[in-house]
């Protein structure tokens, strides 16, 4: 049931966390920290906020592990907490997105394209952006995304399609000379 995101059996990890094992939290951080940070970065736009969101996610996992009964994969449950945390942060503040690295800008076309895509991503509707991030940037399956966002799998596919269409249009506009 658990995604490749959690090579160790997620349910075991959940059980250890429920028993208050500090080592289990460390394993969660080591296996998922990077991915959690990356998702939070794209949802919040800068590294400090992304790190704060990851820290907050761990606290929330600790506080609410009692409500996790294996109804979804443990990984999906943790990602759901992260995505909701980022949504709350975004609601609570005006966006202060980090500019894409200046030294990279215009160095070569693929980098320029990457920056363009990153900018276009920021303009997306939040639900489309989240699905795009999880599916295309972080490589999660639609079945996992459906669990994380508590939506039907068909909706996940549909939102990804809409996101990619919007990104395609944004990149085409940019090619036409913005």
């Amino acid at each position: 049931m658990d995604s490749p995101a959690f090579p160790a059996a997620g349910q075991d990890l959940a059980a250890q966390i429920r028993q208050g094992s500090a080592g289990a939290f460390e394993r969660l951080y080591q296996s998922q920290g990077a991915r959690l940070k990356s998702i939070a970065y794209h949802l919040l736009g800068n590294r400090p906020d992304a790190e704060d969101a990851v820290q907050e996610t761990f606290l929330k996992v600790y506080r609410s592990i009692g409500t996790y009964h294996g109804q979804a994969a443990f990984s999906s449950w943790v990602y759901r907490i992260l995505v909701n945390t980022c949504t709350d942060v975004r609601r609570g503040r005006k966006r202060r997105a980090e500019e894409p690295d200046n030294q990279q800008r215009g160095r070569e076309s693929s980098v320029a394209l990457k920056i363009a895509l990153e900018r276009a991503l920021v303009e997306l509707n939040p639900k489309h952006r989240t699905v795009f991030l999880l599916a295309e940037v972080e490589g999660l399956k639609h079945s996992e995304i459906a669990e994380i966002l508590e939506i039907p799998e068909g909706t996940s596919k549909n939102w990804l399609f809409e996101a990619k269409q919007a990104l395609k249009r944004a990149l085409a506009r940019r090619e036409k000379g913005q």
Partner: protein
């Protein structure tokens, strides 16, 4: 197998259907428009994978650990901290009192001499400001005893009352910023009760001593 048609491409992409997409790719080998569309689609996907961000976060795990351990060991309330101090002082008070009573056996209490104390104690049962005010009154009654009487037991009472006053002042400062905090109000009430009890003991002790004389 029916032939794939250009207008089916959107459905294949939207539904992310593996079989349909395979058919679309076969069709795209001979259809320029669908090929261009699929190439664009794929280039967004491959570009997206490069958007994964990875950076060193020195100290992040330590921060998480700290916040988790702060969560598992909730900060002791001021009342709990003070309770330990009171317990320590109480041990001294009781020990000293036992020794004192062995050496100074007291006769029965003269009821008439207790009326001031009793009246003060009755007042101390009033609530809120009146309650605090009555404790102040009790304090004023006990003060001459505390100033005048010199004994190890009275030293312990003085020490305990100083400790209580410090705790009360500290809590009042904190409560001043959180006027609606029920926990602080409860702790303050506990401290006042403890002070009231201690003052009563001081007055009872003074009455016993003067009766003994």
């Amino acid at each position: 197998m029916t032939e794939f048609r250009c207008e089916q491409l959107e459905q294949a992409l939207r539904e992310d259907d593996a079989e349909m997409l395979a058919a679309a790719r076969r069709h795209a080998e001979t259809c320029g428009a669908c090929r261009a569309e699929l190439e664009q689609w794929d280039s967004i996907s491959s570009l997206a994978r490069s958007l994964h961000r990875d950076w060193e976060s020195p100290g992040l795990w330590e921060r998480i650990q700290e916040s988790l351990s702060a969560e598992t060991q909730p900060k002791a309330s001021l009342w709990h901290v003070w309770r330990f101090a009171f317990a320590a002082v109480a041990v001294v008070v009781i020990s000293v009192a036992v020794v004192w009573m062995i050496h100074h056996p007291s006769p029965d209490t003269a009821e008439g001499r207790l009326f001031l104390t009793e009246r003060a104690l009755a007042e101390a049962k009033l609530r809120e400001d009146a309650y605090v005010e009555s404790i102040d009154k009790l304090s004023r009654l006990a003060q001459p005893v505390l100033d005048r009487v010199s004994s190890p037991l009275m030293d312990s009472y003085r020490e305990k009352l100083t400790l209580l006053d410090t705790a009360i002042a500290e809590l009042k400062t904190e409560a001043g910023h959180n006027t609606l905090n029920a926990r602080l109000r409860n702790e303050l009430a506990n401290l006042y009760r403890e002070k009231q009890k201690t003052l009563s003991e001081v007055l009872a002790y003074a009455n016993n001593s003067s009766t003994a004389r």
